[in-house]
């Protein structure tokens, strides 16, 4: 009897359960923070502090809270508990100075015609883990230079311009970054280029042009990177790389870096861009030239995806220690828009992880391009 009831009623009950579940399970269980998120950009007060470098000294004005200290031309901003916004306006020239900032809230540094050289550390060191807005004042030319050896410190100093937090490069001026010891620009978070003209030149005694941990995005502006060290990368990114605008030019000229650790020889070749995650280009121009032995244009652990913009990648290096490749991806090279020209003088223009001898197998083209040339040493696709 019970069995008969179960057999007859159960499917109907189940159907009701399914419908009820689908109808009721449509509520978001997030906390309501709209009171905070709707107040985006509002501030209660604003400190503008002007720092004028002059030779081996620096003059500070507008420091109403006494958070800035100066020794010679080494300027320290110690403002860890402030709740107000802060803008630091830098100008003048110093052959031996620096700026280091300790703070827990976002802030802005305006480079208003400043030249800072620091012989034993970064020119600017941001120890704040929050957003660091670097504004290049209109019509100004600014220069940051480090030395060939850094003094040992208890805090990180990974490049001429170093930030623990995110860096946003904005404004319409020009910035020259010269790296002689480590990276040109480095962030332990992510970097977004929005506007301005930036030249990053890293000597053979230095390392990468830009080193970033959590992501790299170019939205606009002009970025020129020139690195000369063996094994150096124009942009070394441990996360996703996105190019959505701007004009970017990268040149690497070093050869392979050979390291011997406990008898294990490790070879690191140069690359215009080395990305540990997805590389995506949707707009803008990207020109990469790599001239050293085994030099790569883009070396990516995941897909290289081009859907817009113009990408020109050329490698002219030899293949003694490593094989030069214009585009190298461990998972795939996908072109669905824009224009790609990849040229090599040795080895393959495109390497998507396959061993095929057919150039067409080494790239995925989605859609119908206007022109298409697929050879071992030249890949040209235009939509």
């Amino acid at each position: 009897m019970i069995t008969t009831i179960i057999k007859k009623l159960f499917p109907a009950c189940l159907l009701c359960c399914g419908i009820a579940a689908a109808l009721t399970a449509c509520v978001n269980d997030d906390t309501d923070f709209s009171a905070y998120t709707n107040e985006q950009g509002t501030t209660t007060s604003n400190d503008t502090i002007r720092i004028l470098y002059s030779g081996t000294t620096a003059t500070v004005s507008g420091d109403s809270r006494g958070v800035v200290s100066v020794i010679g031309a080494d300027v320290t901003v110690n403002d860890p508990t402030s709740t107000s916004t802060m803008v630091l306006v830098l100008s003048g020239t110093t052959p031996d100075g620096s700026l280091i900032v300790y703070r827990s809230l976002k802030y802005e540094v305006v480079l208003n015609g400043v030249s800072i050289t620091n012989a034993d550390g970064p020119a600017i060191n941001n120890q704040c883990g929050k957003a660091f807005h670097l504004t290049l004042a209109d019509g100004t030319v600014n220069t940051l230079t480090d030395g060939t050896a850094y003094a040992e410190q208890s805090y990180d100093q990974k490049g001429t311009l170093f930030s623990e937090g995110q860096i946003y490069v904005e404004g319409t001026g020009t910035l020259n970054v010269n790296g002689n010891s480590k990276n040109g620009i480095a962030s332990d978070d992510y970097i977004t280029f929005r506007s301005g003209t930036v030249y990053v030149n890293v000597a053979a005694t230095g390392s990468n042009g830009v080193k970033v941990n959590d992501g790299f995005t170019i939205e606009g502006g002009t970025l020129n990177i020139d690195v000369k060290a063996d094994g150096a990368r124009g942009i070394r990114n441990e996360a996703r790389t996105t190019i959505a605008g701007g004009n970017t030019t990268i040149t690497t000229s070093g050869g392979c870096k050979i390291e011997n650790t406990d008898g294990i020889v490790d070879t690191t070749s140069c690359a215009g861009i080395k990305s540990d995650s997805l590389f995506v280009m949707t707009a803008g121009t990207l020109t990469i030239t790599s001239t050293g032995d085994g030099g790569k244009g883009i070396n990516c652990s995941e897909n290289i995806e081009l859907s817009g913009g113009t990408m020109v990648v050329t490698t002219t290096g030899d293949n003694v220690m490593s094989k030069p490749k214009a585009l190298k991806s461990d998972t795939g090279i996908i072109v669905s828009g824009g224009s790609l020209t990849a040229t090599v003088s040795k080895s393959w223009a495109c390497d998507n992880g396959t061993e095929s001898d057919e150039p067409a197998d080494r790239i995925t083209i989605v859609g119908t391009p206007v022109t298409q040339t697929l050879t071992k040493k030249l890949v040209k696709v235009e939509f």
């Binding site: 069995t3 179960i6 057999k7 159960f10 499917p11 189940l14 359960c17 399914g18 579940a21 009721t24 399970a25 449509c26 509520v27 978001n28 269980d29 997030d30 906390t31 923070f33 905070y36 998120t37 107040e39 985006q40 950009g41 509002t42 501030t43 827990s104 809230l105 976002k106 929050k130 957003a131 995110q166 992510y190 959590d214 992501g215 996360a239 996703r240 995650s277 997805l278 995941e302």
Partner: protein, 260 residues
């Protein structure tokens, strides 16, 4: 019959109220629903294959937690030993995450970041061995040891930074996770019976016990082809970060299976 049912009931109660089931310090729990529909096809006496789609809710049945689809194969070595392997595609809604600022004494001074809930895809592979022991005429004990690997691809999510008063992108890197799942089950399996009640306890181990599932339920065999599974499950979460909200769960589940 009565004696065996009493044994099952006592086993289920002892599992449910054993010391391991004491709630964690947060003492928060939610209700959820698990619905599934699947099909099995016997290839020969030893080998069978199957497919299943499942749906799960949380937040006291009000929020969809995940959808999933899986393909599986099962091989029976003999009467008491069976091996399974499966691939599952998971499309899940990750709970929001809130982090806080602390002063030097460890006292919360305010919010740090809020990452709203978001959907993402995960891939799961598992392989298991199940040993079955017939305790009496109709009473079976089984032990299933399952290795499970779940891969979460990289995903860029947005989060609100309270200090900066702005939304920012955060890349959640791709990550794989290995888990060992150990399930001990007792079931009453009488030939030609419509109901096949069972109780089980399952440990999720990834260098430490991460959660424990206690389940009581019954299979309902309508015909040789159509059957249902109805259960209640208490999921006790262990060893989670203080900032993570991962409550204990009370699940009610209904599953349908079609046998070719």
């Amino acid at each position: 019959m009565e004696r065996n049912l009493i044994v099952i009931l006592l086993t289920a109660l002892s599992l449910l109220f054993s010391p391991l089931s004491s709630p964690p310090a947060r003492a928060q729990s939610e209700g959820g629903l698990v619905l599934s529909a699947g099909a099995d096809k016997k290839i020969d006496r030893k080998l069978s294959i199957g497919a299943e789609a499942a749906f799960r809710t949380r937040n006291d049945f009000r929020t969809v937690d995940r959808w999933s689809g899986s393909l599986s194969a099962s091989y029976k070595f003999n009467k008491w030993l069976k091996a399974d392997a499966a691939y599952t595609l998971l499309y899940g809604n990750n709970r929001e995450s809130i982090t806080y600022n602390y002063d030097t004494n460890g006292v919360v001074t305010g919010y740090n970041n809020w990452r709203p809930s978001y959907w993402n895809t995960r891939h799961r592979l598992n392989a298991s061995l199940t040993a079955d022991y017939k305790f009496s005429n109709n009473l079976h004990f089984s032990l299933r040891e399952r290795w499970q690997y779940t891969y979460r691809p990289e995903k860029t999510v947005t989060r609100w930074d309270f200090d900066n008063s702005q939304w920012e992108d955060k890349v959640r890197a791709g990550k794989g996770k290995n888990q060992l799942r150990s399930r001990l089950q007792v079931e009453y399996d009488k030939k030609r019976a419509t109901l096949k009640p069972y109780a089980s306890m399952e440990l999720y181990n990834s260098w430490a016990i991460e959660k424990i599932r206690y389940t009581v339920g019954t299979d309902i065999k309508l015909t040789n082809q159509h059957s249902f599974d109805v259960f209640y499950r208490y999921q006790n979460v262990k060893n989670i970060d203080e900032d993570d909200y991962d409550p204990d769960m009370h699940y009610v589940g209904v599953g349908y299976k079609f046998k070719f």
